[in-house]
Structure formats: C-alpha cells, structure tokens
Symmetry: C2
Subunit: 311 residues, 2 copies
C-alpha cells in the first residue's frame, strides 16, 4: 500500500449552455494537483497551497479539500488517520471552470487511492458536493460529477442523486477563455430569477434533449443547434465583457456552439478539432485586449478520464 500520492483533477464546464445545473463536461487542461501523504500524527492538515494568491483557507475545517477528505475518512471509519495535503492550484479561482471542484475531486481521489479505492468514482460524488456547498453555498454536482467521472455527465436528479455518463464525439474539443474580471458564483446565481415562463422552459428542455441526442449520435450540427439558453445566459452574459461579440467571432470561426462556462466569466466554444479551438481562443483574447481586459486561454479535447494519479 502506498503512503503518498499525487493526483491531477480536471477543470469542468458546467451547464453546457442549455443544461443549467444538470450538464457538465471535463477538459484536460487546466486542472489542479494534490499531493497527499499518510503520516503518523492523526488528523488532516493542509501543509501547503500554491497558485491561490493566499485566497484559500489553510484551516482544515474550512478548506473544501480537507473538509471533504475528513468526511470521506469518517465515512470509512478511519477518522484516526493522519494525512497531510499539498494543494497546487493550476487554474484561476472564481473563473467558472470548476476551480473548487477540481481541488476537492483531486483530494477525494487521492484519499480514495491511498485507502485502496473503497468507493467508486460515482460514490465519491456526494462527498465532493458537500465540498461545493462549503465553497459556494450551494451543493451542486454539475462540476464535481464530470470532474470525477470524466467526459460529459448528466445530473438527472439531485434527490435522490442520479448521475449518468453520456457519450461524446471522439474529436470534440473545447476552446476556453477566462477574461480576468471578477464574477463570484454566489452573485451570478442571485441574478437568476426564481420563476420563468413555461414556454421558455419548454424551449430549454427541447434543447437539452437535442444536445443529449446529438452527443449520442455524434451529430455536431444538432449539438450546435441545441446549444441555446433562453433563460440564464441573457442575464449572466451582462457580467461578461464582449460576450456577444465573442460569440459571433467563435461561430464565424467554425465553433459548434458557444456559451458561458458555469456561472462565468469564462466562456467556451465546442469545436470539431484543436486547430479551430486555437483560432477561436486567439480571436477572443485579441477582442478582449481591445477593451483592456487580460485573459487566459485553454484548448483541450474533452477529458475522458477524470482524475489521474501522476506519480
């Protein structure tokens, strides 16, 4: 049995335009790394965090990584265990790319590996959701489920939790751009109205059904036609500079579809190949530059693996 492990867990794009709170997918980059060690002294400690500019708590009860690891240990009856955690953040916080999910999932995957994979990836989802609740006040699964399971994931139901892996076209790529503006998840959620017109909801679930169908049949056109959000995007896009200009650029360059990643401010396009994705990130970053906004970009195939052990 190993006494230490290094794990990478991927960033995720939640909602996928039409699937608010029920769809998400993982990417190969960016993502976070956790190094976990079994030690003699009981308790879970965070010994180091890099890449967070001092924004994340070191207190084990307040940090989502250590808190969910503690939950896991309690569940398997090993609260006596001694564990140290190094968290290496390799992606921006508050970017709408499932930053807290990637960290939490890396930690849970690491502790599960150290204790002999007692739980399946699916069984880890509820532990990661508790971490999300700590991070953003709302225990959603549309980031943590794809981060744990890889690929596209449908969260069909929260009570009871029912999480389903969906297929996707082999060549499907994501072009992601993170404009460096601040959109806290909590605020982004509060902008959304609690009631919606039924006729708009009907449009939305027609599109969700179309997207799922397109994923099963590798029908890029159908995937693209279905990536329409009449409910949430019109509100959240207000917080994202140049949103509609970026959409136009992405679609003109051959994107399958374009939208907000999670609660933003990151935006993403799905593409048929990495070359198109690269052209799109270049164009969007250039556009943001014209309004003096710095940005980061990531190009990646859809991640099929979820978290991986690195050493």
């Amino acid at each position: 049995m190993r006494d230490s492990v290094k794990v990478f867990a991927p960033a995720t794009v939640a909602n996928v335009v039409c699937g608010f709170d029920v769809l998400g997918f993982a990417v190969n980059a960016p993502g976070d790394e956790v190094i976990m060690r079994l030690v003699d002294e009981p308790g879970v400690k965070i010994t180091k965090i890099t890449g967070d500019d001092g924004r994340l708590p070191l207190d084990p009860a307040k940090n989502t990584v250590s808190a969910s690891v503690q939950d896991y240990l309690k569940h398997i009856g090993r609260e006596d265990a001694g564990i140290t955690i190094e968290l290496h953040k390799k992606m921006p916080i508050g970017s709408g790319l499932g930053s807290s999910s990637a960290s939490t999932v890396a930690g849970l995957f690491a502790v599960n590996t150290l204790f002999g994979n007692l739980l399946s990836r699916k069984e880890l989802v509820p532990f990661a959701m508790k971490g999300e609740e700590l991070a953003c006040g709302y225990g959603h699964a549309d980031n943590v489920a794809p981060a744990l399971m890889g690929g596209f994931v449908l969260v069909r139901s929260y009570e009871p939790l029912d999480v389903i892996s969906l297929p996707f076209p082999e060549d499907l790529c994501a072009a992601i751009v993170y404009p460096e503006v601040d959109v806290p998840t909590k605020d982004a959620r509060q902008m959304i109205r609690s009631k919606v017109f039924l006729k708009d909801a009907v449009k939305q679930w027609g599109n969700v059904a179309g997207l799922v169908s397109g994923l099963y049949t590798s029908d890029y056109d159908l995937i693209g036609r279905s990536m329409v959000d009449v409910l949430v995007e019109p509100v959240r896009s207000i917080l994202i500079p140049e949103f509609y200009a970026m959409r136009q650029l992405a679609m003109d360059l051959g994107a399958v579809g374009f939208g907000i990643s999670g609660s933003g401010p990151s935006v993403f396009a799905l593409t048929r190949n990495q070359e198109t994705a690269r052209k799109i990130t270049d164009a969007l970053q250039a556009r943001l530059k014209t309004v003096q906004i710095n940005s980061l970009s990531f190009v990646s195939p859809v991640n099929a693996k979820g978290p991986v052990v690195l050493d």
Copy 2:
C-alpha cells in the same frame, strides 16, 4: 399512378410525462383511416365520416383533414385537383391520444402518396401542425410528428421547426386506458400556469435528458426513473379519475413508467412486454369500474412505421 388510396395513421402519446410539448411516440393501435380518391370535379370534398358520432365538420375548410390537404395541394401548385375523402375514425375524439393528428396525418400521407410522394414525412409535419391549430387552437407537433414519422420523436424547436427521431428499445410496449370522461384539450392547456419555478424546470429538463439517454441505451430503469413530471401532471391529474390509484396499480404490476397521455384523460404505461401491458390495462379498467367509469383500452408495441398504405 394510382387514383385512390387507403391509409392508416397511428394514435400518439404526447409529452411522455416529462417532455411537455417536445416528446411523443406512436402506437400501432388505435388509429384512423382515410380513403382518398382522385376525381374529375376540382376541389377537396369530404364524402363520409364514420366513428365520430357526428362531432366532426364536413365543411372542407373547417375539417382538419381536408384543410391540411388543401394546404398541401396549394404548396405543390395543384389547387386544381379534385379529391374526395372518407374519414373512418377508429379512436375516441378528445381522448388525449392525438385523435385529430391521426386523421390529419392519414389525409396528408394519402394525398402525398397520390401525388408521388413529393414531400418527405418530415416535410409534411408543418402541414399537419396547421391542422392541429385548426383542431385545438394551438399548432403543436408532439402528436403529428410521431404520427408521421413513427417511433419516439423529439420536437427540439418550433421556430425553426426541428424534429428528431429517437431510438427506443425493441420490446417497448404501451398500455393505454381511456376513461370515458371529457377533458377538452383547450381547457387542459388553460389549467397550466404560464410561469413555473426555475428549480422545478431544472428537475424537468434533468428528466427529459435522462429519458432521451435511456431511449438511446435501452435502459428501462433510467427511462422509468426519468418519467417524472413536476410541472404539468400535478395540475392535469385533477381532471382524471383515480389517477394516482391507477399509477400505483401500474407500477405494482411492473410498468416502466406511467402518466397522462397528451392532455388526457387517457393514461398510459410503458412496459417491457405486451403481457405486462395487458395486465395493467385490465387492472386499470377494473379500478375505473369501481367508480362507475367506463373505459377503453389499447395494448401495442411502440409503432416504428408511422402511417401505412392499407390497400
């Protein structure tokens, strides 16, 4: 070229519980028949209607069958044609089984056959939708599209119209019971609130996505878990006697899922075989009998063909 044709078009179950206004499937029975003849005298005439108890108009401009045939002829530039129509209704009107759709689709399929199949089944959908508008004040497609195309159909979008055939498990059967009470489609629609809670809409599109996924993977359990409607059924079920008792009976007898067909009052269960479907219709009809309500029942595999030429 033939100068007469007899066509059968199938009844349909719209909504399929969670897919309000976007999903529907066809069954082998019941359904309607149209006999159409080319005649010398120009114009479209209805010469005979049977099985309607005198409820349907013979005026060609007011009857959905003749009106949509006239639209078709106009579209192909053959308003000069002479056509007589016999409509044989073999299913109850106002039952929630797509009665008007079956008639309209039979007529359109017949005229398209007589004129050399100038349009595809998919291209006939908009003509049938105009017929629905005439019949029930609302041009929906979740009955006419499956009636025309067979199987399960997703109406992803109405503007522009985007209709997608979905696969389904080969053995999937439907058990249908029509309680003989009156629920006009217009009234059933008016009961539904125009605004809904976003959190309920999220549940609904999670289920729609789950149902589509289950149809692609022939996962009966997932299909069943997804057949939940938190928005429309709680309201419409009020108009259907013994609704929740019938659900319990159907589920206890092994139904995959159970719900209202279209706007009711017919109810349906999906089952893994015809034997289970038969047991369910027997039990539901017996239950309705205890509250002095007569009913009709139909047991059928999901119809894969849509309309067929009978002679």
